[in-house]
């Protein structure tokens, strides 16, 4: 028992710490930035996966709550000049609160109606972001100048880390913490309740599970993490505008959990990284493909953006049809197969130690 606990500590604390420090020291700036985006996406995806993958409530509302987080961070952190952790907390709390309200409405809806309402929310949210000029500064967007005292280049007035490195550490610390919390949550009473709601709502209700309460809990967690992700994104970019928080982002978030693996925390993170890196990898490769135009004005069969979108869409379809459990499921299967081979191999290995290759045939 004790040994397992210490193994877990290594898994949750030491491994992330080591990989983060390696990344900060050795990664070029371009990849560091991409991994920051991926980390922010992972925060939102973990929350969405809890709601959609574990509780079975499909939602397209993630950009709406991210937008709330972003603008709250800007308003509280810049306009009201509140210090670092507080604007982040307020942004998260406000998004979670609005999520609770949406959850109350969602209680009455089932299946398809819920997904339709949440995509309506995205349009309504964008309209509000475009028109609430005193906070959002309208269509052209606003600067988000927050937390540079504590979250900038200077820690204790000594230049220790670059801005990117600070954000990278902060964001992946959030990802690790959130993943740990969510994993624990899912293994406990709440997790079992959520999954029983997903599998058979009526049975869950008959078994004495307070379906309404747990659904709202799931909504609050998912919108809270979205708010956190939105606030971090706006703070890192130092700018936000209404068109960022649109339907395409909602589809991207759903794609992350589908590609990563529904109902799996590790899957959310893997999916977030994969979906974030995909367009950049395609861009890198597309230089070598003859019929791809790099600019809209160049001649060519199609633009990089179009190629991106088409591969993105096709990937979702392929994953859903051929790998319903996503990348996390596929990795698990590979790991199990590898384990099997090793288990099979090791006794023969010890028998014929002179020639270990025989074990594998």
């Amino acid at each position: 028992m004790k040994k397992r606990d210490s193994v877990k500590t290594v898994l949750w604390v030491v491994l992330p710490a080591i990989s983060v420090s390696i990344a900060v020291c050795f990664l070029p700036e371009f990849w560091l930035k991409l991994l920051i985006y991926a980390g922010i996406a992972a925060i939102g995806a973990i929350g969405l996966n809890l709601l959609t993958g574990n509780t079975g409530q499909a939602s397209l509302g993630q950009p709406f709550f991210m937008g709330i987080g972003a603008y709250t961070a800007a308003f509280v952190g810049q306009d009201l000049a509140v210090y670092f952790p507080f604007w982040l907390i307020v942004a998260t709390m406000l998004a979670a609160f609005v999520g609770a309200l949406v959850g109350l409405l969602a209680l009455r809806l089932r299946g398809h109606f819920l997904i339709i309402v949440t995509f309506a929310l995205v349009f309504i949210g964008q309209h509000i972001f475009r028109n609430w000029n005193s906070v959002t500064h309208g269509t052209s967007g606003r600067s988000v100048d927050v937390g540079n005292g504590l979250l900038g280049e200077n820690v204790f007035h000594v230049k220790v880390l670059s801005r990117d490195a600070t954000y990278f550490i902060l964001i992946w610390a959030f990802v690790t913490g959130l993943a740990w919390l969510t994993n624990n949550l899912l293994r406990g009473r709440i997790g079992r309740a959520l999954m029983s709601i997903r599998d058979q709502e009526l049975t869950a209700e008959i078994s004495g599970i307070d379906v309404a309460r747990y659904k709202i809990v799931a909504f609050v967690i998912s919108s809270g993490t979205a708010g956190l992700a939105g606030a971090l994104f706006a703070a890192y970019m130092q700018y936000t505008n209404p068109s960022e928080w649109g339907l395409l982002l909602a589809i991207q978030y759903l794609a992350m959990i589908v590609v990563g693996g529904m109902g799996s925390v590790a899957g959310s993170i893997i999916g977030a990284v994969a979906i974030t890196l995909l367009p950049h990898c395609i861009e890198l490769v597309s230089v070598h493909i003859p019929f791809i135009a790099q600019n809209p004005n160049d001649s060519g069969f199609m633009t990089v953006f179009a190629l991106n979108q088409i591969i993105f869409g096709a990937m979702i379809i392929v994953f859903i049809i051929f790998a319903p459990r996503g990348l996390a499921g596929a990795l698990e299967r590979v790991a199990r197969a590898a384990k099997k081979i090793i288990m099979k191999a090791s006794p023969r290995e010890s028998a014929s130690s002179g020639n270990p290759a025989i074990g594998f045939k």
Binding site: G56, I124, H127, A255, M302, A306, A314, I316, I320
Partner: protein, 297 residues
């Protein structure tokens, strides 16, 4: 501002929404798929009509009929290639597949026909009809007429043809209909064909007249969702009526919001359908005409 004039404009827009909504309902009822890719089909249908007019050089009416056939076949291809593999999978993953299809379809027009707005080349343009003090766009009158014709043809089809009856049987109980020898594959293909052809008609009418053809067209199909929900998801008549209501509400808001309630913001009419949607679902979670039904165990 002439209220009657607004009403006619709203009904014409609503007619287009009704066609799209009807397509949603036909697919949803027969195969249980909530088809978010309808917007892509709408756009591709409109561009196909454009090609048949301006590249092939057909007369408008022949062009639109051919384009409807072609779009219908594209719909069948989508059903056969992608969605047939999704039978029996969870609802959410099927919805994700239709979103993914929309993402792909959305990119096609801008690659073939370019990002710019182009003129459809319909016979009406900005022509007007005057009835008393009322002057309405000719295309609006035609839209209403075409909607009426298409809707009645579809209802006659469901009422009197063997395939129509088979589709209704499949919608009410798929397993029992299969036991009676109805091919679900044929039913689903027919549903996708009809929905895509309707989308093509709506797309063409939406981009004719004073409007132009542009890749933004596919977003318009999402406005049909409030119409479908208003109609209770499973009712074709409800979808048609819901489309009309949403169309009128949108046109009325567009005309009245700016002078009377400027604090609602620019282009408030664009979110009006979604506000109606949310409001209706708060009051009646199963839609205006949807029965509460039982929760199945």
């Amino acid at each position: 501002m002439n209220v009657l004039q607004l009403l006619v404009g709203g009904l014409a827009l609503g007619g287009n929404y009704a066609l799209i909504a009807l397509g949603f309902v036909i697919i949803y009822k027969s195969s249980g798929v909530l088809n978010f890719a309808q917007g892509g089909l709408l756009m591709i249908g409109a561009y196909t009509t454009y090609d048949f007019i301006n590249v092939v050089g057909l007369q408008f009416w022949y062009a639109i009929a051919t384009a409807m056939m072609v779009t219908g076949l594209i719909g069948i291809a989508i059903q056969e290639l992608v969605l047939r593999r999704m039978m029996g999978r969870p609802e959410f993953t099927i919805i994700m597949v239709t979103w993914a299809l929309l993402v792909i379809l959305d990119q096609i027009p801008s690659q073939i026909w370019g990002q710019d707005m182009i003129n459809l080349g319909d016979p009406w343009g900005l022509a007007m009809i005057k009835i008393g003090s009322l002057s309405i766009f000719t295309i609006d009158a035609w839209t209403l007429l075409l909607t009426a014709v298409a809707v009645s043809m579809i209802f006659l089809f469901f009422r009197f043809t063997a395939l129509g009856v088979a589709m209704r049987a499949a919608a009410s109980d798929l397993e029992a209909s299969i036991a009676q020898g109805i091919s679900p594959r044929l039913v689903f293909a027919a549903a996708w064909f009809m929905a895509s052809a309707l989308a093509c008609l709506a797309g063409t009418m939406l981009s004719g007249g004073a409007n132009v053809l542009s890749p933004d067209l596919s977003l318009l199909a999402l406005v049909a969702f409030p119409a479908v929900v208003l109609g209770g998801m499973r009712s074709p008549w409800g979808a048609v009526l819901g489309g009309m209501i949403i169309g009128v509400a949108e046109v009325m808001t567009a005309a009245l919001a700016a002078p009377y309630a400027p604090w609602l913001g620019h282009n408030f009419y664009q979110v009006m359908p979604y506000l109606i949607l949310v409001a209706i679902l708060i009051v009646r979670p199963y839609g205006l005409f949807g029965g509460a039904g039982g929760r199945r165990v």
